[in-house]
Symmetry: C2
Subunit: 207 residues, 2 copies
């Protein structure tokens, strides 16, 4: 598979392009332009063209992009059809909401294991999986080789868990632990819910 | 208070600047530059300067920005010290996690009411508040005038609830309902957890 190199800001915008293209498809639209994409996303058309060209999407002069082709191309770039195995660590209230609400299968992953430290949670079912004790993490990783782990832990235990997971072969962490984590050899994407709340605050004060 | 006009992309980057500045403060750093900010955020220094200049932050030629001043300025621009009253609608598992995990008071809001439609939830305590029935929404809004509402509803009921809230004076919606919502007269910020999961997928395929 071809690999792309793009700045983290460009990568962060990819899902927004993808969502908009799916919306255009639902609206029955066949073609689009960098101008239209820009207008709907509040960006300039040259920024759109520049971003998409990082991934070899150039459009046709004067004719723009074919919506479905571009959507499928972005889907492949993000590896969404691959469904990499992922585990979730921390099956408390946050882990429950994440495992039950996130559409992993449509977003490039399939959940293959859920782990917790609390004895009272072990064996309970979550998102169709039986919660496993942390003691089984090592054997499980050796056998199933999860590529990614979702961290739904208190921030005190997140860094240590992250290091353990990476030592067991996990290469990507989706971190809900309200703290920044860094582990050599792994990509960490942290969910900052607060960021979107702050933008709402901004809009209410600058309406 | 001064009002600013900036594109939605610039506004979306504000919380990231803000978080980075807080980190620099914790690290004991007094001054910073657009170059340093750019390096740490994976952006060009000219983009940083351009973004910040939208809010009247120009820095000093050759001396850059004072970390604390810039952080305080961004804080004011986002209205964080104001703590606007907000309510949460939908006290199921998602609403519970949001109300208990989000630091509203540090992000420009204070939670003043929580509502649900399910009789078995009414009167239960969540985030220090007693869950109220939807029938009391109108009287509550007339009395407390919430500026914003957090929507933790199934997507089928989100649009109708949003319209009702806006008719009762709510001006901003923080939408967790897995669907795009549009209501005239209100700003809607939708949380797309899936977006960050897709960027993780991207990184794992393009490492």
């Amino acid at each position: 598979m071809q690999k792309y190199e793009a700045s983290s800001s460009v990568v962060r915008r990819l899902p927004r392009y993808y969502r908009l293209l799916k919306e255009l498809e639902r609206e029955g639209q066949r073609r689009t332009s960098s101008r239209e994409l820009g207008e709907r996303l509040g960006m300039t058309s040259s920024q759109i063209r520049q971003d998409l060209s990082c991934f070899g999407c150039f459009g046709q002069q004067g004719r723009g992009y074919t919506v479905t082709e571009l959507r499928e191309h972005l889907e492949c770039i993000m590896g969404l059809p691959q469904k990499l195995p992922a585990i979730l660590v921390g099956a408390g209230s946050l882990g429950k909401v994440v495992s039950e609400n996130v559409r992993f299968e449509q977003r490039g992953f399939r959940l293959t294991g859920i782990f917790d430290i609390k004895p009272e949670l072990i064996g309970k079912e979550l998102a169709g999986l039986s919660i496993l004790p942390m003691e089984q993490l090592e054997t499980f990783c050796a056998e199933h080789q999860p590529a990614a782990a979702v961290l739904c832990l208190p921030k005190e235990s997140a860094q240590a868990a992250a290091e353990q997971l990476v030592s067991l072969g996990v290469r990507g962490l989706w971190n809900f632990s309200h703290c920044d984590i860094a582990v050599k050899g792994a990509k960490v994407v942290t969910v900052h819910l607060d960021d979107s709340l702050m933008t709402l605050s901004y809009h209410l004060h600058n309406q």
